[in-house]
């Protein structure tokens, strides 16, 4: 009995840590609808700051807690800087565009933290006065764990009082329910958003600072925590602070007991729980259907077919691309293959996200299943390249049909989160099934057939498949099916009223996007000769999202531009020291100059230069 009580207390202490990280994220999302990728970075900075400040007062209880609070406040200030210099300028950008900016902030903070605090892990002191363990029912429980178990609910109570007993809190709650109404009440929205962002950032900083007696401060903290934080927020219901608390307790306590039975489970447990919750309760445990997403944005313009002159230019450029291996170096061909793969991946994501309005945070799943499908066809079935290239997209199609069936039942950020859960579960299974997938050692030896081994020959294979895929998706975008997807996105009620089967249409759109991502994955696998679980990972999905959003979600050319900019800049800057800082700055620059994405920026530039008539699209 004592053992289980102790395990429960351990779970509860973890829950408090998790709650502190997640509640800020939830508050920020609730009010501003920003999916803040930089939240993990705030958490990491909080931990580093606390480490540095607490070190000034060794052994002092006041110094420790003062340091923790000071760290949280400084992170709040950092949040204010980020909000005022970057996010405030792009609140009216298309939905989720702010995500790209926060991604840039993540990169910048990673390099700055390394420059300031160095690469080596930092182990902070234990909390003075709480540095040992007490015995409860004969089991040793760290005193600091007990303190955490109290701190979590205390912070929850503090937030509750703030939200229910202050005018500001009431406004925050109102904004979480219905942003337009708050705007209509004459509240200064900019101020409300800034204050919310500062509070959220400070809570993240507090979450990090309070961790220093438990773990070493290191440069991986930001990304290792952000996934779980999102899971907690989604399970609890986005914008619900008490929901985040319940979700944190649920996950942590489940994990504490699950490792006793099945030690490998931690890797997927949070995502399995999230998937189950979303399927049963589409808005999370305590969530309500929100009042839509970001600020109202300009409606998308109708699609136009290209003029014949533009088509000629385009054809010429495709021919130039086709001819490039004849004049360019081998490496240029290799880089172009990467570029084409990234572009097809981005175009397939844009197909479901831009045209279909189904945002995916886990599109890498289908890219990865395509890559693994082909790789396993080669290594287990001994298939040659071409048949394996057919197996890959088919496998991706099956996976997309399976997960898509659940996903299309949701919408907005919840759909996005379920796609993320699906991808993470697939990643976990791939990672875990060493016998079949090679685990994280991956599958190697997936090289092109002998006739296609040269860089030039493979370039043409990739060219045929990727440009073919991009062409096909563009064609579909102009077809009744593509129009139908846009119709469902614009108004599902109208779509139903003209006799469309809305969910089925979305499901098929999801499956097609997944299949084409799988095709990109196949081309990728043979170009690298190997596949590893990273291809299914969050990193790959985020890259795709950034490409699509950076390019501009409202234009068919957006993902093409976005992928091009992303791959070429990354290839270039990653040669430099502190490249993440530079890359992050470039992303922020693009975001601020072109809040409607590269495509929108190019469009406005053309108009400014008088190269395009007003109104032409």
């Amino acid at each position: 009995m004592g053992f289980y009580v102790a395990q429960l207390l351990t779970g509860l202490a973890n829950a408090s840590s998790l709650f502190l990280i997640a509640c800020g994220l939830s508050i920020i999302f609730g009010v501003t609808r920003i999916v803040n990728f930089a939240h993990g970075s705030f958490y990491m900075v909080g931990a580093y700051l606390a480490y540095s400040i607490v070190a000034l007062f060794p052994g002092s209880i006041l110094g420790f807690w003062g340091g923790v609070i000071a760290a949280a406040l400084i992170v709040g200030l950092l949040g204010l800087v980020v909000e005022m210099t970057i996010l405030r300028r792009i609140y009216r950008a298309p939905e989720l565009f702010q995500l790209v900016a926060t991604f840039g902030v993540v990169l910048i903070i990673q390099d700055m933290a390394q420059a300031i605090w160095g690469a080596e892990d930092k182990l902070g002191p234990r909390a003075p006065g709480l540095s040992s363990a007490v015995r409860i029912m004969g089991e040793p429980i760290p005193e600091y764990d007990l303190a955490l178990i109290l701190i979590g609910p205390a912070v929850l109570a503090g937030i509750w009082l703030l939200f229910h007993r202050t005018r500001w809190g009431v406004l925050v709650r109102a904004a979480t329910q219905d942003r337009e109404m708050v705007g209509a009440l004459g509240v200064n929205q900019a101020w409300l958003f800034s204050a919310t962002f500062v509070l959220g950032a400070a809570l993240a900083g507090l979450g990090g600072a309070i961790q220093i007696p438990r773990e070493s401060v290191n440069l991986q903290m930001d990304l290792s925590v952000i996934g779980d934080a999102f899971v907690v927020v989604v399970i609890g219901g986005m914008g619900s602070v008490s929901g985040a608390f319940v979700a944190a307790v649920l996950i942590s306590v489940l994990n504490a007991f699950a490792v006793l039975v099945y030690p490998q489970i931690s890797i997927v447990l949070p995502f399995v729980v999230m998937a189950v919750v979303l399927i049963v309760r589409p808005y999370g445990l305590f969530g309500k259907e929100g009042s839509g997403h970001g600020a109202p944005t300009e409606p998308e313009q109708p699609l136009r077919l290209m003029s014949s002159r533009a088509t000629l230019v385009l054809m010429a450029l495709v021919f130039a691309l086709a001819a490039s291996p004849l004049v360019a170096s081998d490496f240029a061909s290799i880089l172009l293959v990467d570029l084409m793969v990234a572009t097809l991946f981005a175009v397939s994501l844009h197909f479901m996200m831009g045209l279909g309005g189904m945002v995916s945070f886990g599109h890498a799943a289908y890219f990865g299943v395509g890559a693994y499908g082909a790789a396993m066809a080669v290594s287990y079935l001994g298939l040659p390249m071409i048949p394996a290239m057919i197996v890959g997209p088919l496998a991706a199609a099956v996976a997309a049909l399976f997960f898509g069936w659940f996903c299309v039942r949701l919408s907005g950020v919840y759909l996005a989160m379920l796609t993320l859960a699906a991808a993470q579960i697939l990643w976990g299974v791939t990672f875990q099934s060493q016998e079949y997938t090679g685990g994280d050692d991956g599958i190697v030896g997936i090289w092109p057939a002998s006739w296609a081994t040269s860089d030039q020959a493979y370039f043409y294979v990739a060219f045929a498949l990727c440009i073919g895929g991009i062409w096909f998706l563009r064609r579909v975008a102009h077809s009744p099916f593509g129009y139908g997807l846009r119709g469902v996105r614009d108004s599902d009620v109208r779509a139903e009223a003209i006799g469309m089967d809305v969910k089925f249409h979305q499901w098929m759109g999801f499956a097609l996007a997944g299949t084409m991502a799988g095709l990109a994955g196949v081309v990728f696998a043979f170009s690298k000769g190997s596949v590893f679980p990273d291809v299914l990972g969050i990193g790959q999905s985020v890259d795709g999202l950034v490409m699509v959003l950076l390019g501009g979600i409202h234009a068919l050319a957006g993902p093409i531009l976005g992928a091009g900019v992303f791959v070429l800049i990354e290839d270039w800057v990653s040669r430099l020291d502190y490249w993440r800082f530079i890359f992050g700055m470039i992303i922020l620059g693009v975001v601020l100059l072109a809040p409607d994405g590269v495509a929108g920026g190019v469009d406005r530039l053309m108009r400014a230069l008088g190269l395009r008539r007003e109104g032409q699209t």
Binding site: P302, L305, R475, H478, S479, P480, R489, S491, G499, D501
Partner: protein, 257 residues
């Protein structure tokens, strides 16, 4: 034969009976209004006819075919068009594309992945636009249209599959008075020309009395009166319900607007 037959339609939410034992018929080419004060159960009634809500009891038959349990989109396919109180259009498309979408869906080509959507059923779509006098706006983006034009566009979209029955929920809501008259005249003309039957709800009593062939009055979920404009005007019960006596319909309308 009646196009629509509604029998004993009943629906309650929790303890509240929203619609109680409502029965009526809608004949071929008839323009039938469903009116009543706020909360009378009009929208609930409407949504049971078009399939969005499943009644607790009762029957809805379209040309003799039972519609209970049939999904909204299948009801559409059986020849029921509808317009919305707040317009629902595909804002990222042009005017004509909105109509083409309805036609594509009607012809079962929604899963065609290779044709150009904008080249399909163009002539038919143009004809429908002419019908609502919007041919000159065919290529405009839907998001730029004035509200009245959106209403007319919705009418054209609803007519695209050549329905036998048109369900119009507050067709003139949110429009300027002069536009309301124009829209309803247009609707009445189309009803007459094409032999479509229309069931509509409406707040504007001028519109109702000017165009409806017959009027149903709903109050607290129950049908309290049925008849021509004359019958309804003279019905004491209706006056009582609407006005608590004394005032005219015109003022009631002003309260609702």
């Amino acid at each position: 034969m009646n196009v629509l037959e509604v029998r004993g339609l009943t629906k309650s939410f929790g303890g509240l009976v929203a619609v109680n034992d409502v029965s009526f018929d809608l004949g071929q080419g008839e323009f039938l209004a469903l009116i009543g004060p706020n909360g009378a159960g009009k929208t609930t009634c409407f949504n049971m006819v078009n399939g969005y809500l499943r009644p607790d009891r009762g029957a809805v038959r379209l040309n003799g075919e039972d519609l209970i349990g049939v999904r909204p989109r299948d009801i559409v396919r059986k020849g029921v068009g509808r317009t919305f109180q707040i317009t629902r259009t595909f804002l990222s498309m042009t005017v004509i594309e909105n109509i083409q979408m309805a036609l594509i869906s009607h012809h079962g080509r929604m899963f065609d992945m290779l044709s150009r959507a904008t080249r399909l059923y163009r002539d038919e779509a143009e004809a429908l636009l002419r019908l609502v006098s919007m041919a000159d706006q065919a290529e405009r983006a839907c998001s730029e249209l004035a509200y009245g034009d959106l209403k007319r566009l919705e009418l054209a979209v609803a007519l695209a599959p050549d329905p036998t029955l048109l369900l119009m929920d507050e067709p003139t809501a949110g429009m300027a008075p002069s536009e309301r008259v124009a829209l309803m005249e247009l609707t009445a003309k189309i009803v007459a020309d094409r032999g479509v039957s229309v069931l509509f709800t409406e707040h504007d009593m001028d519109v109702v009395f000017a165009h409806a062939h017959r009027i149903l009055v709903l109050n607290r979920g129950g049908l309290i009166a049925e008849g021509t404009g004359e019958d309804i005007r003279g019905n004491a019960l209706v006056q009582e319900v609407y006005l608590g006596g004394g005032t005219s319909f015109g003022q009631a309308e002003a309260d609702h607007a």
